[in-house]
Symmetry: D2
C-alpha cells in the first residue's frame, strides 16, 4: 500500500495539483512520469499546516485534522500539506494548499515569520526520522495557522475534525495520523505552549 504522504487526497496526481494541463502553460511543473523519476533522486520540498482556532487572547482552543479514506477504504488522518512549486514562495505555497484543503472561506491568518515551528523529514526508508513516506524523501516546513472562517474541505472524501489540545495529543489520534504526524500535532501544541 502506498501511503500518499504528504499529499492528503487519494485522487491527487501531480498534474491535478495546478489547475489545467500544466505542461503546456507552466514548463516548471512536472508530468506524472517526470515526478515519479525525480522522487527517487531528490528530496522534495513541502509545506504543511496545522489549522487552529484561537480565543481572544491568542490561545489555541482547537486543532483541525483532515480525515480521508485511502484507496483501500481505510480511514486515516492527516494535515494540510503539499509541494512547493518552482518559482513559488513558501508563503504562496502555504496559502495555496490551505485554500485547496480548507476551501476559500477559511480565512487563514498566515504566519508573520517564514520560520516553521518544525522541519519534518519524511523518508521511504525506516529509522532515519520519526516520519515516513513510501513514495519519496520529502522535507516539510510545518506551520500552525489560525483560521477564522468556515472550513469546507474541497476534495472528495475529506472532512475536517476539530479537536481540543488534549484530544490532539492523545495516543489514539496519534495512531491514526498518517506517516507519523501524531508527533507533529504534539510539537505544534508545544510550540504554542499548549502541550500538557
Amino acid at each position: 500500500m502506498s501511503v500518499r504522504t504528504p499529499d492528503p487526497d487519494p485522487e491527487w496526481t501531480p498534474d491535478s495539483d495546478p489547475p489545467g494541463p500544466v505542461e503546456s502553460v507552466t514548463p516548471g511543473w512536472l508530468s506524472d512520469i517526470e515526478l515519479a523519476e525525480i522522487r527517487g533522486r531528490l528530496p522534495l520540498l513541502y509545506v504543511e499546516a496545522v489549522p487552529v482556532r484561537v480565543d481572544g487572547l491568542g490561545q489555541v482552543t482547537e486543532l483541525g485534522v483532515l480525515l480521508r479514506a485511502t484507496a483501500v477504504g481505510e480511514m486515516t488522518r492527516t494535515l494540510v500539506s503539499g509541494r512547493v512549486m518552482y518559482g513559488e514562495t513558501v508563503r504562496d505555497a502555504l496559502f495555496r494548499h490551505l485554500e485547496k484543503d480548507l476551501g476559500p472561506m477559511a480565512f487563514p491568518q498566515l504566519p508573520l515569520s517564514p520560520v516553521p515551528f518544525t522541519v519534518a523529514e519524511y523518508f521511504p526508508m525506516p529509522g532515519l526520522s520519526a516520519f515516513h513516506d513510501d513514495r519519496q524523501h520529502a522535507v516539510s516546513l510545518v506551520f500552525v495557522v489560525p483560521v477564522t472562517g468556515t472550513c469546507e474541505p474541497r476534495q472528495d472524501a475529506l472532512e475536517i475534525t476539530w479537536m481540543t489540545p488534549e484530544e490532539a495529543s492523545s495516543a489514539g489520534v496519534g495512531a491514526e495520523m498518517e506517516g507519523g504526524r501524531g508527533v507533529l500535532l504534539r510539537q505544534a501544541l508545544a510550540s504554542v505552549g499548549a502541550l500538557r
Copy 2:
C-alpha cells in the same frame, strides 16, 4: 532626566496603571514609594509589543511606533510596553498594555506562542546590554503583534506613527527610539523575515 522606559506615558504612576485605588482592593499591587524601593532591588518583568499591519499573505507592511513628549518637551519614540502585575499572565499583560496604548478598537491578534522574538534587558548602568533605563533593571519579553482595527493612543501626548520596514530600520528612527529600542525594531523585522 529620567527616561521613563518602558512605561511610555509621562503621567503614568504605579497606581494609575490599574483602574481605581489599588492598594485597598489589590494587595499585590504597589504604591509609588514601594515600587521606587523595589526598583533598586529586583529586576522587573515587562512585556513590549511592536504593532504591525500585515497583507493577506501575512507579510509585515508597516510597523507602529508611539510618539510622545517627555516632561521636558522633547519628542521621543517608543513601543507598546508595561509591567506584568502580580497574578497576571504574560498574555493578559500584553493584551492590557496593547489596549492601554492603542485603544479598545485596535483588535490585536495576540501571538500563538508565549515565546517572545527577543528578551530585552534594560539596565540603569551602561555597558551590560544594548538597552538602558535610568529608573530600573527591567527584563522585557518583546512580541510582534498584528493589529487589524483602528489605533487611537489613549494617553495624553501619544500618537502612533506607521512606518515601512525600510523606515523603521533606518538610523534616523533608531536614534529617536527611547532606551535603545531602535535595535528592537530591527530585531522585530528580522524575526518576520523583513530585515533588509
Copy 3:
C-alpha cells in the same frame, strides 16, 4: 507543604544564594523578610535549564533531571533553576545557576540566543497555567543547555539522573516533577525535535 519551586534545594535562603552576607555588600539583594514580602506583590524573574547530552550531530541523547528530598522526606524531581538578581544579565544568571546545581566541571554550552524555548509561568493560585508554586508568582525563561563535562550537584540531597528522551517524556517521570515541570521536559524535547 511548601513546594520550593523553582529554587531546588531545601536549605536555600535568599542570602545563601550570593556568597557571604549580602545586605552589607550588595544593596540590590534582599533579606529573607523582604523577599517574603515581595513574593506576594510582584512576579519574580527566574531562569531554568534542562541539561542535556548530545551526540556528534547535535542530537539530544539524554536529559538531566535533579532529584532531591523535600523537608518532609519526599523525593521530588526538578530542573536547574534560580532567580535573576538585580543588575545581572539572564545569561549570567543561567551560568551561575548551572554552576550552583551541576558543579564547576559541567562545562555547559550556553545558548547562542537569549530567547528561551518556552516561558513558564508559575502561580500560587491554581488554574492560570500548567505550572504552580505555592510561594510566589514566578516567570521563568527556560533553556536547553548541553553539558560536556562532569555534573556533580553541589547542594545537599541533590543528585542528577540522566534519562533518554523516551523516559523523560513518560507519565511516570512527569508525575514526579515538581510544580508541573513534566510539561517542560516534553516542551524541551519538542524544541529539539526529539518528542515522540
Copy 4:
C-alpha cells in the same frame, strides 16, 4: 555571469560533491545534465551555515565568512552551503557541508534544533525575495553554528574571514555577499541577540 549560489566553490560540479563517480554507486544522485534540467523544474533544498566563535557565556564574538574568486576573477563572499541529497537528513547535510567548506578540524557544534533561524528563498527571477540565484530556485535552511577548532577551507580559492558582529552587519560587507546574503548575516546576528 553565473552566480553559483549557494554552492560556493567555482570548481564544484554535481558529481564532485559526493566522493567519486556517483552515478554508478548512488542512484539517487544526479549527473550534471540531469541536475541542470531539474533546476528549471523544482525548488532545490539547501542548508547554509554561519560559522561563529562564542565566548564562555555563549555570546557570539566573531562570524566566519568565506571569500573566493569567481570564474571571472571577482572576489565574492558567501556562507557555508550546499544541497541536501536524497536520503540524507538535514543534520547530516549540514555536517557534510561544514566539513567540506571548513575542513575536518573545525569541530562544529551542530544546532540542537532542526529549526533554522531563517528560511532563505533564492529565485532566478528578481523581486520575489531578498535573495537571488541565477541558476535555480533554491530554498535554504540557515543555521548559526559555533566552531571550536581550526577552520581550513578545503577547496581552491577559498579563505575564511572572521568578522566582529559590527563588521558583519556593515553595508560594505553586505554588498560583497553573494546573492543578497548580507541580509542573512544581519538576520543571524538578530537571532542571537547581537544585532546593533
